[in-house]
C-alpha cells in the first residue's frame, strides 16, 4: 500500500504541475530550462504547502490506534485537525480514508474494525468542518500491512487510518 500510495501521490503531483500556469519552467522563458533555478518552491514538492506530498509528509496522512480500539488519541486528533485545515484550503482534493488492522484478529473482525477506524477519522474531519460529501472510507482489515515483523513495533504501525487524496474532478 505504501508504494501504491506514493505512486498515486506522484500521479497527482504530475497532474497538478501540468495544469499550473506559473510553473518555473514556463516562467523562466528560456528553452534550455536554466530558468528553473530561481529559488522558488517547485509546485508539487513536499515544501509546497498545496501539494499532496506536503499533505502526506508535513501534515501527516495517517493516524494510529491502540489494540482493538477505534478511539482517536490526542496525537491522532492533532494530525486530523491538520488534515481538516488542509482539505478546507484545498478544495481540488477529496479524501478517501483507508482503515487497517494488525494481523492479530480474524479476517472478518479486522475488516469491521478497519471500517470503524476509517469512520472515526472521517467523523473527526467532519466535526472540524470538512464536508462529509468529500470523504469516503474503505477498510482493508489486515490485508495490507505496511510493516511485517509480527511484533508490536510493526503492529502499532499497521493499526492505522490513512487519508489518501483524490483529485476532485468536479471541483
Amino acid at each position: 500500500m505504501k508504494r501504491s500510495s506514493k505512486l498515486a501521490a506522484l500521479g497527482l503531483v504530475l497532474a497538478v504541475a501540468a495544469c499550473t500556469n506559473n510553473s518555473p519552467f514556463a516562467a523562466g522563458g528560456g528553452s534550455g530550462g536554466a530558468g528553473g533555478v530561481d529559488g522558488s518552491v517547485l509546485p508539487g514538492s513536499p515544501s509546497d504547502p498545496r501539494s499532496p506530498a506536503y499533505f502526506q509528509q508535513a501534515v501527516g496522512d495517517r493516524v494510529l490506534f491502540q489494540v482493538d480500539q477505534s478511539t482517536l488519541t490526542d496525537a491522532a486528533k492533532a494530525t486530523l485537525q491538520g488534515q481538516a485545515d488542509w482539505l478546507m484550503q484545498n478544495p481540488d482534493y477529496n479524501a478517501r480514508i483507508e482503515g487497517h488492522a494488525d494481523e492479530q484478529g480474524t479476517r472478518e473482525y479486522n475488516l469491521a474494525l478497519g471500517a470503524r477506524r476509517a469512520n472515526a477519522a472521517r467523523e473527526y474531519l467532519i466535526s472540524r468542518g470538512v464536508a462529509g460529501s468529500r470523504i469516503t472510507t474503505v477498510s482493508y482489515g489486515k490485508e495490507r500491512p505496511i510493516e511485517i515483523c509480527s511484533q508490536e513495533a510493526c503492529y502499532a504501525k499497521n493499526r492505522r487510518a490513512v487519508t489518501v487524496l483524490v483529485a476532485n474532478v468536479t471541483g
Binding site: E108, R116, R117, A120
Partner: protein, 439 residues
C-alpha cells in the same frame, strides 16, 4: 467379523466423545492417546485391458492415500504381500492377508473403453473371511479417474467407520503469492486432497473468504474489484460472476448461503458500524438482522436454516452468539477466556467450529451448540477460518506463519484434535471452504 467390528467401534467411540467432559476448555494434545490405525491392503487394481493399466495402479494409490490421510487407517506396504491379486473375480486368499495383518482388503478391476472408465471394487473383512457389503462399480470419463478413486475410498471409509465419507469433495480457497505487505490473492478450487487446482479469478483485486452454495455449484466471495469490499456470486462451472446488489457508501463481506441456497447472510458496514443482513438472492432485497453499535460479523446458518451463529463484540470482546433467522435476541454461547470468531455450524448440526485467540496464540476449536464442551484442536501463531468436511468429522483451516517470511498454508485436523496435517497447494493458501460431497 468380530475383530474388525471391535476396532471400528473403538475408533468411532473415541472420535464421538470428548476425552474428558468438563466445564473448562480442554486442550487436547495430538500426541496423546493416538488411536492405533486399522491396517489395510489396497493392491493395484486389475486392468481388464492394457489401456486401463495406468489407471488401475493410480486408482489404488489414491484410495490408499485417502484412507491413510484420515489417520484412522494404516496401509500394509505392497512389498509385504504374500499373494498378488491378478484377477478381480478370483477368490481372495484370506490366509495370505491375515499373515501380514491386513484387517481390511480392497480389491478392484478397471476397464477403459474409448473415453469411458469403469471401476469395480470389493471390500473384504480379512479376519472373518467375508466381503464387507456388496461390490460396486462406478463409471465415468477417463479424465475423472481421481473422482472415481475418491468414491471407492468413500465407500471403504463409510463401511468401516459407519460415518459418511468426504473424499469426493472439493475445496475453494484463496491462492496467495508475494510477501505479506504486497500479497496477491486469487480464487482457486481443487479436490479436497490438493489435486486438480484451477484458478477462478485473476489477482488484480483482493479476494477473500469464498463459500460454497449447498449444491456446490456456486461460490460467494468478497472482492475489492470495485475499490471497496463487495460480495460476488460465481458460477463454478461457467466461471461467471455477478456482484450482489449493494448500497453506495457501504461495504459488504463475510457472506454465507442459507441451507436452501436462496438467501445470503452477510455483514454490511455503514458509517463504521457492522451489522448482519439477510438477502434474498432472486429479488436482491435485504433485511437487517441485527441493529447494534457493536460489530456483528462471520454469520453461519444451522443446517436446518432456523438459526444463525455469529461473532459480536457487544460484550466488549468478540464472542459467539446464536439468534433465530427470523430475528430476535441473540444469546451468547462462548464462555471461556479469550476472543472468539468465525463460528461455523457443523453439517451434522451437533458442533460449532470457531477461531479462538487467547494469550497471544490462535486456536481452532469446537463446542456444542449451547457452548458446552469446548475443545481446542490446534494452537499456533495464527490459525483461523475453520471449514467442515461434508461428514462433520474433519476441519480444514488457515495457518499463517510469523514474521516477514510468513506464509499461509491450509491444514486439516479431525474433531478429536488428531491427525493435524498440511494440505498441499502450489502457492500459499488461505480461507478454505469445503464443498458438500459431490453427486
Amino acid at each position: 467379523m468380530m475383530r474388525l467390528l471391535t476396532s471400528i467401534f473403538l475408533g468411532a467411540a473415541l472420535m464421538a466423545v470428548p476425552a474428558v467432559a468438563q466445564n473448562t476448555p480442554l486442550r487436547i494434545e495430538i500426541t496423546e492417546g493416538v488411536i492405533e490405525p486399522l491396517p489395510f491392503a489396497a493392491p493395484d487394481f486389475v486392468p481388464d485391458t492394457p489401456a486401463a493399466a495406468q489407471y488401475a495402479t493410480q486408482i489404488a494409490r489414491v484410495v490408499a492415500a485417502d484412507l491413510t490421510g484420515t489417520g484412522l487407517f494404516r496401509e500394509v506396504p505392497a512389498n509385504a504381500y504374500i499373494s498378488q491379486v491378478t484377477s478381480f473375480d478370483a477368490p481372495v486368499q484370506f490366509a495370505d492377508w491375515k499373515a501380514i495383518n491386513a484387517q481390511a482388503l480392497v480389491t478392484g478391476g478397471v476397464s477403459v473403453s474409448g473415453n469411458t472408465l469403469t471401476v469395480r471394487f470389493r471390500i473384504w473383512d480379512v479376519f472373518s473371511d467375508t466381503e464387507l457389503g456388496n461390490g460396486l462399480q462406478f463409471t465415468g470419463t477417463v479424465d475423472g479417474w481421481r473422482r472415481m478413486a475418491h468414491k471407492v475410498a468413500d465407500q471403504v471409509y463409510s463401511r468401516i467407520t459407519g460415518e459418511g465419507g468426504y473424499f469426493d469433495s472439493r475445496v475453494v480457497f484463496v491462492s496467495e503469492s508475494g510477501p505479506k505487505d504486497e500479497r496477491r490473492k486469487r480464487l482457486a478450487i481443487m479436490d479436497y486432497d490438493g489435486a486438480n487446482v484451477q484458478y477462478l479469478t485473476d489477482s488484480s483485486a483482493i479476494v477473500l473468504a469464498p463459500r460454497f452454495s449447498p449444491a456446490g455449484d456456486r461460490v460467494l466471495y468478497t472482492s475489492y474489484e470495485s475499490g471497496v469490499p463487495r460480495i460476488y456470486v460465481l458460477d463454478v462451472g461457467a466461471v461467471q460472476r455477478n456482484v450482489l446488489p449493494t448500497q453506495e457508501g457501504t461495504m459488504s463481506f463475510a457472506p454465507r448461503f442459507s441451507p436452501d441456497g436462496r438467501s445470503v447472510v452477510y455483514s454490511l458496514a455503514r458509517g463504521g458500524n457492522t451489522d448482519l443482513y439477510l438477502m434474498d438472492i432472486n429479488s436482491g432485497q435485504s433485511r437487517q438482522l441485527t441493529n447494534a453499535p457493536s460489530i456483528e460479523t462471520a454469520p453461519s446458518f444451522s443446517p436446518d436454516g432456523s438459526q444463525i451463529v455469529f461473532e459480536s463484540d457487544r460484550s466488549g470482546t468478540p464472542q459467539l452468539y446464536i439468534m433465530p433467522t427470523t430475528g430476535g435476541e441473540p444469546r451468547k454461547i462462548s464462555s471461556g477466556k479469550g476472543r472468539y470468531g468465525t463460528p461455523v455450524w457443523s453439517p451434522r448440526g451437533d458442533l460449532i467450529a470457531f477461531t479462538k485467540q487467547s494469550q497471544g496464540r490462535f486456536h481452532i476449536g469446537v463446542m456444542r451448540t449451547d457452548g458446552s464442551e469446548e475443545r481446542l484442536l490446534t494452537a499456533s501463531f495464527l490459525d483461523e477460518g475453520p471449514t467442515w468436511a461434508p461428514n462433520g468429522r474433519v476441519i480444514m483451516f488457515t495457518r499463517e506463519s510469523q514474521g516477514a517470511e510468513g506464509r499461509a498454508t491450509l491444514y486439516s485436523v479431525d474433531i478429536s484434535g488428531r491427525n493435524l496435517r498440511p494440505v498441499r497447494t502450489p502457492d500459499g493458501a488461505s480461507d478454505p471452504a469445503w464443498s458438500p460431497l459431490q453427486k
